[in-house]
């Protein structure tokens, strides 16, 4: 029977091909949308873990989350070093990681921090950062690269890099008098950490020394051997990540920080902010999902229409099956089998199309949109969609199949005409 169905489809390959192409494209859309959605959600919730509070200048929690954790957009304001010290010294606080943002290197963000970052920062399922090569910085002018930075720019240990002021891809103002030496490269994490260059807070201060009103004054600028470097104290930072001794204290500490008398601060719970942000993205994602399902439904209807219109030219063929002893159920099954064959082939082709598409655009996506997408879609959601598509194909094909069934029940042998 499978042989009959295949030969029958092949004999009508013109219209079958067109239907197959349209179905393949809609399968690819459905698989692609679901794949990107699942991957985005996954990398999204994996970005930060085990951080109890995130502190920055007074702003909305989503804004603070975006610029400090996702490195998207710019900080609205900085916080004073004194504030950081006051918070870090509180007894509820187990550890505090300072973040200083605002510089870049060839499009990658530079994060000024201290070695606590490598000890306490967590992502995914509370996984800690691992230095794949070299070691953490211990000189003010050393840098630790995220895995993607090293791979894309081809940097290895001991390479010297110069930072640029501001966060664009091209900057007219380079801190080229004080290069940083790469001391370590992190293992991949699948989070924005991979696209970050980590340097010391002192280093950040150093490259900004000797700048007045946005113009570099050569006489005041230090060089690499300047003894002033070691004594540098940061004056301002961008954000603070806090871990608490006892997570129960999170709300009272949050209240205390929000009411900090020195300057206006915001303390947010990263998990809550992540949830709020994902809700905003989620409604867009639902829209995409609905559209992709409608496209698939249209293509499946096209398949059903193709089979329906083929019934006329197949009238004698179907009557002949009956004449040689086929039950009408055979004819129903034959048409269903043809439909499911086309649907399965379209699903496989659509899947391959998505995989090839992401294999080709993987680098570009990660560079341009910070999206890390796996090549082979494997979310359970995709299998669910494909199963649903098979089922819908079977149900929609019942229209032509049952018409053929009824016709073959009630008709005579072919007339001599």
């Amino acid at each position: 029977m499978f042989e009959v169905a295949l030969s029958s489809l092949w004999s009508r390959r013109g219209s079958v091909m067109l239907t197959l192409i349209s179905l393949t494209i809609s399968m690819a859309i459905v698989i692609g949308v679901e794949h990107v959605r699942a991957q985005a959600e996954n990398s999204f919730v994996r970005t930060v873990s085990s951080v109890d509070l995130l502190v920055g200048a007074r702003t909305s929690q989503i804004n603070l989350l975006l610029y400090s954790v996702f490195r998207i957009g710019s900080p609205t304001n900085n916080i004073r070093w004194q504030s950081f010290e006051d918070i870090a010294e509180r007894q509820e606080v187990a550890w505090a990681i300072p973040f200083s943002l605002g510089d870049s290197h060839r499009g990658y963000r530079v994060l000024g921090t201290n070695t606590d970052y490598f000890d306490h920062f967590r992502y995914g399922d509370a996984e800690s950062l691992r230095i794949a090569e070299g070691e953490a910085f211990d000189h003010p002018l050393e840098a630790v690269l995220g895995s993607e930075v090293a791979a894309t720019l081809g940097y290895t240990l001991d390479v010297e890099i110069e930072l640029a002021h501001g966060i664009g891809n091209t900057s007219f103002v380079n801190h080229d008098h004080l290069p940083f030496t790469v001391s370590g490269i992190l293992a991949p994490t699948g989070t924005p950490v991979d696209r970050t260059i980590h340097v010391t807070l002192e280093g950040i201060e150093a490259i900004h020394l000797g700048w007045q009103n946005g113009v570099q004054v050569a006489a005041l600028s230090p060089d690499a051997d300047d003894p002033r470097l070691a004594q540098l104290q940061p004056e301002q930072i961008t954000a603070v990540l806090l871990g608490l001794e006892n997570p129960m204290a999170v709300f009272s500490l949050q209240r205390a920080i929000n009411n900090y008398p020195g300057e206006p601060l915001s303390a947010i719970l990263p998990a809550v902010a992540l949830g709020e942000l994902w809700q905003i993205i989620g409604s867009l994602e639902n829209l995409l999902r609905v559209i992709s399902i409608l496209v698939l439904a249209a293509s499946l209807l096209g398949l059903s229409t193709m089979l329906l219109s083929s019934l006329r030219e197949r009238r004698r063929e179907l009557a002949l099956y009956r004449a040689i002893g086929a039950h009408p159920v055979f004819i129903l099954c034959l048409i269903e089998l043809e439909a499911i064959t086309v649907t399965v082939v379209a699903a496989v082709l659509g899947y391959l199309m998505v995989a090839v598409g992401f294999a080709l655009t993987q680098d570009w996506l990660s560079e341009s949109f910070a999206l890390v997408i796996e090549v082979w879609p494997s979310t359970p959601g995709i299998w669910l969609y494909l199963a649903g598509a098979m089922l819908a194909s079977l149900v929609l094909t019942l229209i032509p199949a049952s018409i053929a069934y009824k016709r073959s029940l009630g008709s005579a042998l072919q007339s001599a005409a």
């Binding site: 004698r316 063929e317 004449a323 040689i324 042998l413 007339s415 005409a417």
Partner: protein, 239 residues
């Protein structure tokens, strides 16, 4: 023992006001070859549809091989047709996109025959019908009309039927191949001893058969219909 026994058969197409067929009596013995003369539109195809069980006949009017088809379920009737009745049409006897061998195999599968046995019978029939064995792997649509009709005979005989129903099988052939076709058909039948009902409007073929009957003589419906004439019957209304 009769291959076909009809008693008081009346058949009216759904929606038609007059019956297409009204046959008080018709008997075909086992192994008998019958020439059934009838013009197109005389109810020939309707009769053959009833005899093959594709159209359900009224109860206890049609018995094939002494079995009342109307008492069977649709599934059982289909199986019965596959196993006991071979059918040859005027044209379109084969699934065009399948190979000759696949066409024969398909017919055998509907009758639940083992593939190995089908293979043997296929070789024998192809030889008897003077077809080249290479044709087996060709698609049916690539064959000439004459070859297709001969393959149709092979297909009709593949399951050892006791009854062959042929509906104008020669009208697409030229005069020479007509005689040849009928001789081949009857020679294959010779070996198996099955009954043949050969419906045609072509009187020149009647001489090959044991018995000759005109449908117009036995069918009381449409008394005006005679040989060579056509009449409006329900025959075309169903397509």
């Amino acid at each position: 023992m009769a291959a076909i026994r009809i008693k008081n058969l009346a058949y009216t197409w759904p929606g038609a006001s007059e019956p297409t067929l009204q046959i008080p009596e018709l008997t075909v013995a086992r192994g008998e070859s019958v020439f059934l003369r009838g013009a197109s539109g005389s109810g020939k195809s309707t009769l053959l549809s009833l005899l093959s069980g594709i159209l359900p006949a009224p109860a206890e009017t049609v018995a094939i091989l002494d079995e009342d088809l109307s008492s069977m379920s649709v599934r059982k009737r289909d199986r019965f047709r596959a196993q006991h009745i071979g059918i040859v049409f005027q044209q379109f006897n084969l699934i065009p996109f399948l190979s000759v061998a696949a066409n024969l195999r398909l017919a055998a599968r509907f009758a639940h025959q083992a593939d190995a046995e089908t293979e043997q019978r296929t070789q024998k029939l192809i030889g008897a019908l003077q077809l080249h064995p290479d044709l087996l792997e060709r698609k049916a649509e690539q064959l000439s009309v004459g070859q297709q009709q001969r393959v149709a005979i092979a297909r009709a005989f593949i399951n050892h039927p006791e009854l062959i129903l042929a509906d104008e099988p020669t009208s697409a052939l030229d005069a020479d191949s007509r005689d040849h076709f009928v001789r081949l058909l009857l020679s294959v039948r010779e070996a198996t001893g099955c009954a043949v009902v050969f419906a045609s409007h072509d009187d020149s073929l009647a001489k090959f058969f044991d018995t000759r009957t005109a449908l117009a003589d036995i069918n009381l419906a449409n008394p005006k219909t005679g040989p060579g004439e056509t009449s409006k019957t329900g025959e075309t209304s169903h397509v």
